[in-house]
């Protein structure tokens, strides 16, 4: 069996550059167990070697600007959403009462809270990881300017977002038991790291910036789930309860979350439209320079 399928384990940019010639070589080479192991190790090395797969940005400056705005939006929107949700959920006495008297309302109530909590935790974890990725990119850019850094050191920097992600997920798990502690630990991880977004102006790569779309979609989904839950519960309260409560903060909070969701969607939509600059395979370009 020719181990050419193992080349699929290499990063996409690597395969585009070396895949064909490696396939040609494997066609002539007599594969042994050592070849399989060597290719597995090579694929792992290529993933851990940031210079091997990070290619220069091929987005046009206009598209890059829109993407940066789309990247910054969920960072700004999410804390505001969190505050609005906190304010709205203080006046949910009638929902709680409704939950006790109506089984359907009980299901909607649970979906609202579970969806809101899980969406928030996921968004938070993702935003923290993303912010740290920006920070890492910024550190790498500064480092590269100062000196030609070693591959090992750059690989170590690559592990920082992973470590942050684990930290935030751990914080989210702790939050289940100690509500205030999780919030105290996880929220500050996101906000100061927004600085990374500003610093990483020239250092973002395409794979990182595409993650922005995932972060925006997560934040929007969390907000839409929350809005839908609030809407359904309030309609049910109006129908089923003789004198439903309309807390003062409900309507402004609801409208506020609508505006936040719309602005995130709008910036996301804008970032999807824009030109791309012609890209040159980085390694060939450098080698021929």
């Amino acid at each position: 069996v020719r181990p050419t399928w193992l080349i699929r384990l290499y990063p996409r940019e690597w395969r585009q550059r070396y895949g064909e010639e490696m396939c040609a070589l494997l066609g002539q080479h007599k594969a042994t167990y050592a070849t399989f192991f060597d290719l597995l190790l090579g694929a792992l090395d290529a993933h851990l070697d940031p210079q091997a797969w990070r290619k220069p940005m091929s987005f046009s400056p206009e598209r890059l600007r829109k993407l940066r705005t789309a990247a910054a939006t969920p960072f700004g929107v999410f804390p505001l959403f969190f505050v609005l949700w906190f304010v709205i959920s203080r006046g949910d006495d009638s929902w709680r009462y409704l939950r006790e008297i109506n089984p359907l309302a009980s299901v909607v109530y649970d979906i609202l809270y579970i969806g809101q909590t899980m969406g928030s935790e996921l968004s938070l974890a993702f935003l923290a990881a993303l912010a740290l990725e920006f920070c890492t990119a910024a550190i790498l850019a500064l480092h590269a300017v100062r000196s030609e850094s070693s591959d090992t050191r750059q690989s170590a920097f690559e592990l920082v977002p992973l470590a942050a992600c684990i930290l935030v997920v751990a914080a989210a798990l702790v939050r289940g038991k100690f509500d205030w502690l999780g919030t105290v630990v996880s929220l500050p991880l996101v906000l100061p790291l927004l600085i990374g977004l500003v610093l990483s102006k020239a250092a973002l790569n395409e794979s990182t910036i595409r993650l922005v779309l995932v972060a925006s979609i997560l934040v929007v989904l969390t907000m839409v789930t929350t809005l839908a839950g609030i809407f359904v519960l309030q309609v049910m309260a109006a129908i089923l309860l003789p004198s439903p409560a309309w807390p003062l903060q409900l309507v402004p909070g609801f409208v506020g979350i609508c505006i936040l969701a719309a602005s995130t969607l709008w910036s996301l939509w804008r970032s999807l439209n824009g030109g791309t600059a012609p890209s040159v395979p980085p390694d060939v370009g450098r080698a021929n320079a």
């Binding site: 070589l25 080479h29 290719l39 090579g42 290529a46």
Partner: protein
């Protein structure tokens, strides 16, 4: 002297590749065969391309237009200089080692 410390575990394969390309441009398989012939070391494809990618990034080797899916590589002037320096360094170690073996104690 050109620093090759960041080549890590690829420093030995890199030296073999540069030595192979010093006699003329070669594609991957030809390099593997040549290296096995002159050094007895059998480089596997993953190691070969891991080292080749690093050498290419450093500008010590450069790709030539590919022929029927196989892309030949050639050593650059800077690669030649790096190879000379590394071989000279090895030569000093060999000389010292042999001298000390001849006069032990």
């Amino acid at each position: 002297m050109r620093d090759s410390s960041d080549l890590g575990r690829f420093s030995d394969p890199s030296l073999l590749i540069l030595s192979s390309l010093a006699s003329g441009s070669k594609h991957g398989y030809a390099m593997m065969m040549d290296i096995q012939e002159f050094s007895g070391t059998k480089l596997e494809p993953g190691t070969l391309y891991g080292a080749l990618a690093r050498l290419e990034r450093r500008g010590w080797v450069e790709p030539l237009p590919s022929k029927d899916r196989r892309r030949p590589y050639r050593i650059t002037g800077e690669g030649m200089q790096a190879l000379r320096e590394q071989l000279a360094s090895i030569q000093r170690v060999v000389k010292t080692g042999l001298r000390r073996l001849a006069n032990p104690g």
